[in-house]
Amino acid sequence: MSAVDLASAALWLAGAGFFLAGTAGLLRFPDVYTRLHALAKVDNLGLGLVVLGLLVRAEGPAAALKLVLVWLLALFASATVSYLIARRALRRGIEPWRGEGP
């Protein structure tokens, strides 16, 4: 296990931790808006760490650049979709959770 392997393994496990946190948040949070927050953590942190782990092992600059582009596209994609869902939910009259009750 060389240093590169250790670094990428550590980054991957951290990323997997954020994926777990995002899914747990998705299941446990009370309303749509808080769940959107949980999902935002999943993609920019979970996916970001996985991509970082892959960057450490990437052969050339071209492969590394492509990995970063995939991550950026995923970021923009989920930011756009989160915005659309939240705006639509607000217009539909889904009240944000105010902290009372379980």
């Binding site: 296990m1 392997d5 990428s8 393994a9 991957w12 496990l13 990323g15 997997a16 994926f19 777990l20 995002g22 899914t23 998705l26 299941l27 749509v32 769940r35 959107l36 999902l39 999943v42 993609d43 979970g46 996916l47 996985v50 991509v51 892959l54 092992r57 492969a63 492509k66 990995l67 582009l69 995939v70 596209l73 995923a74 923009f76 994609a77 989920s78 756009t80 979709v81 989160s82 659309l84 869902i85 639509r88 939910a89 217009r91 539909r92 889904i94």
Partner: protein, 91 residues
């Protein structure tokens, strides 16, 4: 090293299946739409890890296309899917 990537890919898949519970149970339509988001991100991470596990660089391009499709599907879902619930806004 490659089998760690494989195991992580399996973990992400299990993550995805657990998230389907929210899709089934989600009270509002918006909760079901969250799945489109989660599938996009987790799918991309899954493909990237598989590209590493099987030393198959073509899967990175598949992840790129998948991220793009997740964006379009999510946006279309958010814009169109709520029409039948008595869409009040006439645009």
């Amino acid at each position: 090293m490659a089998e760690l990537a494989g195991w992580l890919a399996a973990f992400l898949l299990a993550n995805l299946l657990v998230a389907l519970v929210r899709v089934a149970r989600g009270p509002t339509q918006a909760d079901r739409m969250l799945a489109a988001l989660l599938f996009g991100t987790t799918g991309v991470a899954l493909l990237l890890l598989l590209a590493e596990a099987q030393a198959e660089p073509a899967l990175i391009d598949a992840a790129l296309v998948f991220a793009l499709l997740a964006a379009i599907a999510g946006a279309a879902f958010a814009q169109r899917a709520w029409r039948e619930e008595g869409g009040d806004e006439r645009r």
